[in-house]
């Protein structure tokens, strides 16, 4: 959308009346019929795309409320004929899913907080102290970003095995730092880069130490980036499967992803209702968090890839 403030010279025809301006000045803006028709047409397109894109998730959601026999009804019904919470009861009472949920929550939260704090200091040091390694550091980050997880899994397994820490959530969390650190750096860097040097220098002139300048000037300015980085890394770890699959053996230490995978990989006869309910439960935290930082996440995601 174009806003006239961004343009240096505005031809009269290009002036766009914003909704806010119109409201403030009591002007009624009536779009032409053609514009409304076009808008409606694209609304239909967009909703159509959305329904197709989200269909697997919608289907999973409704199916989790269907009694098992209804799964097999032909033709399949979209909405449950009889709504039941049976599968959710089964999930929480008869499986260890609640434990898996807690394991994942604790691991993901720790890995994301530690990762973001450490990388915040790291990014700051790279952008502020112009030592020779700055370019190397960025390259390093890109390099980590591209390493195949399966390649890293081999030495991680060996390291934790030789330390006798295989099959522990602490080892899993520490391993996840290799994901959250570069991710957080990727998201935070543009935010810190965009803070004008002068702001900090002004603080230093007023008697701030470097550390005070960091806490009082950099952190508040970077807050949107920090929240985006926290939530984004949390989601990435929450969703992770490969490292958990390799490092965790005990049933009681499983993450949500491992729990669901075991439902479909290890048993040949399973209740689809239970599987769907587990899928819904695994998805909800991710989508709830997403609602909070939608803007930050989109910005963070695209910041790395399109700097222009």
């Amino acid at each position: 959308m174009m806003s006239y403030r961004d343009e240096q010279h505005v031809s009269p025809a290009a002036i766009v009346v914003t909704k806010k301006w119109a409201k403030q000045h009591g002007v009624r803006v009536t779009a032409s019929r053609k514009v409304v028709q076009r808008k409606l047409l694209f609304t239909v397109f967009a909703i159509g795309i959305l329904v197709v894109a989200l269909f697997p998730l919608i289907w999973m959601f409704f199916s989790s409320f269907k009694p098992n026999p209804e799964m097999y009804s032909r033709p399949p019904r979209f909405l449950p004929e009889v709504w039941t919470l049976f599968h959710y009861q089964e999930l929480f009472w008869f499986t260890s899913f609640l434990q898996y949920f807690w394991n994942t929550l604790a691991t993901a939260a720790t890995a994301s907080v530690v990762g973001v704090v450490v990388s915040l200091c790291g990014v700051y040091s790279v952008t502020r102290f112009q030592f020779i390694g700055a370019k190397f550091f960025t390259f390093l980050m890109l390099f980590i970003y591209m390493l195949p997880p399966i390649l890293l899994a081999i030495p991680f397994f060996q390291i934790w095995f030789s330390l006798g820490m295989l099959d522990s959530l602490i080892a899993l969390m520490l391993t996840y730092l290799t994901i959250t650190l570069p991710f957080a750096v990727w998201i935070l860097r543009p935010y810190i880069d965009s803070i004008p040097r002068e702001m900090e220098d002004a603080g230093r002139v007023d008697g701030c130490s470097q550390f005070q300048a960091f806490v009082k000037i950099i952190i508040p300015q970077t807050l949107p980036g920090i929240s985006a980085a926290l939530i984004f890394t949390f989601v990435v770890v929450w969703n992770e499967y490969l490292y958990a699959q390799i490092l965790i053996r005990s049933e009681m230490l499983r993450t949500v992803s491992l729990g669901i995978a075991s439902l479909i990989l290890e048993t040949s006869v399973y209740s689809w209702g239970l599987v769907n309910a587990a899928g819904v439960v695994a998805t909800i935290p991710v989508l709830v968090l997403f609602v909070f930082i939608q803007k930050g996440m989109v910005a963070g995601l695209s910041a790395g890839a399109v700097k222009g």
Partner: protein, 280 residues
């Protein structure tokens, strides 16, 4: 601050160096005696027919997913860049499939494509199309099916990045073109596409690498089957190391993958630098 850099360097370089050193040794997963065998691991690895097959599968899976994601991502981004009602809400929710765990993607598609319960299986059967109604177990359809799931899971990444770029294109350009009498497709070909091209190249490279490395989609849907039709390098490495406990062969294969990726990353790095020069 320097210790931090060292820590990160350690986190990334140490595992890589370890894999490199293991690739020239013969060792079991659980340690024990190791002996130096030189390039023998690489030789035996490449001599097996499974190597060529996995390489080919990896290329098909990686680039097949890439093109599907690029095209769908571009079309969806162009539609969502128009003016329409509920724009913000639609743009947000289109990301959902990108955000859900891979296991969720795996169970929904397994559920929808299982013969007895699946809605997609039902629709395929009802439509009479010559497509397998349980593609994950079909020789011919397993690969297209895993590509489709990978595409569904990851196309929103493309949409987000393309939308961000599209919003940065000045409307003046389009208005100028309109004054000159350009049609919609001409505007796309001569304004939108050239401006989008650097972004397409960069996200294309990123996604190529991620698709190439993808383990979860195939492991959770087919585990490389049926008859190795969807067996890719990550699955094969996992099988060597954690199935056959052959650290040497697994590490040698991981090294080969790393070299392939570094070649791609080099191209990406060059593009990235070029783009930064342009914006500075």
């Amino acid at each position: 601050m320097l210790p931090m850099i060292l820590m990160i360097a350690l986190l990334s370089f140490y595992p890589v160096l370890r894999v490199l050193s293991m690739s020239v040794r013969q060792q079991s997963l659980y340690g024990g005696d190791s002996s130096f065998v030189g390039v023998q691991n690489f030789m035996t690895l490449m001599a097996e027919p499974i190597f060529a097959q996995a390489l080919w599968n990896n290329i098909v899976f990686g680039f097949g997913s890439l093109f599907a994601q690029l095209i769908i991502g571009l079309v969806v981004a162009l539609v969502l860049n128009q003016q329409f009602y509920l724009r913000g809400a639609v743009r947000g929710t289109i990301m959902f499939s990108y955000l859900v765990p891979y296991v969720v993607a795996a169970i929904t598609f397994r559920f929808m494509l299982s013969d007895a319960t699946g809605i997609l299986s039902y629709l395929i059967n009802a439509s009479g199309l010559p497509i397998s109604s349980s593609p994950f177990g079909s020789r011919d359809w397993a690969m297209p099916a895993v590509i489709a799931v990978n595409t569904w899971k990851n196309f929103p990444f493309m949409v987000i990045v393309f939308l961000a770029r599209l919003q940065g294109i000045s409307q003046d350009l389009y208005e100028g073109a309109s004054v000159d009498g350009a049609r919609g497709y001409q505007k796309f070909l001569h304004i939108t596409f050239p401006l989008l091209l650097p972004t397409i190249l960069v996200v294309g490279m990123l996604r190529t690498i991620w698709n190439f490395n993808n383990f979860e989609v195939i492991f959770l849907l087919t585990s490389g089957g049926p008859l190795r039709m969807t067996l890719t390098f990550p699955i094969l490495i996992h099988r060597y190391v954690f199935g056959e406990f052959s650290m040497g062969r697994g590490s040698a294969l991981a090294t080969i993958v790393l070299v392939l990726l570094l070649a791609m990353a080099f191209v990406y790095w060059k593009l990235y630098e070029k783009m930064q020069e342009r914006t500075e």
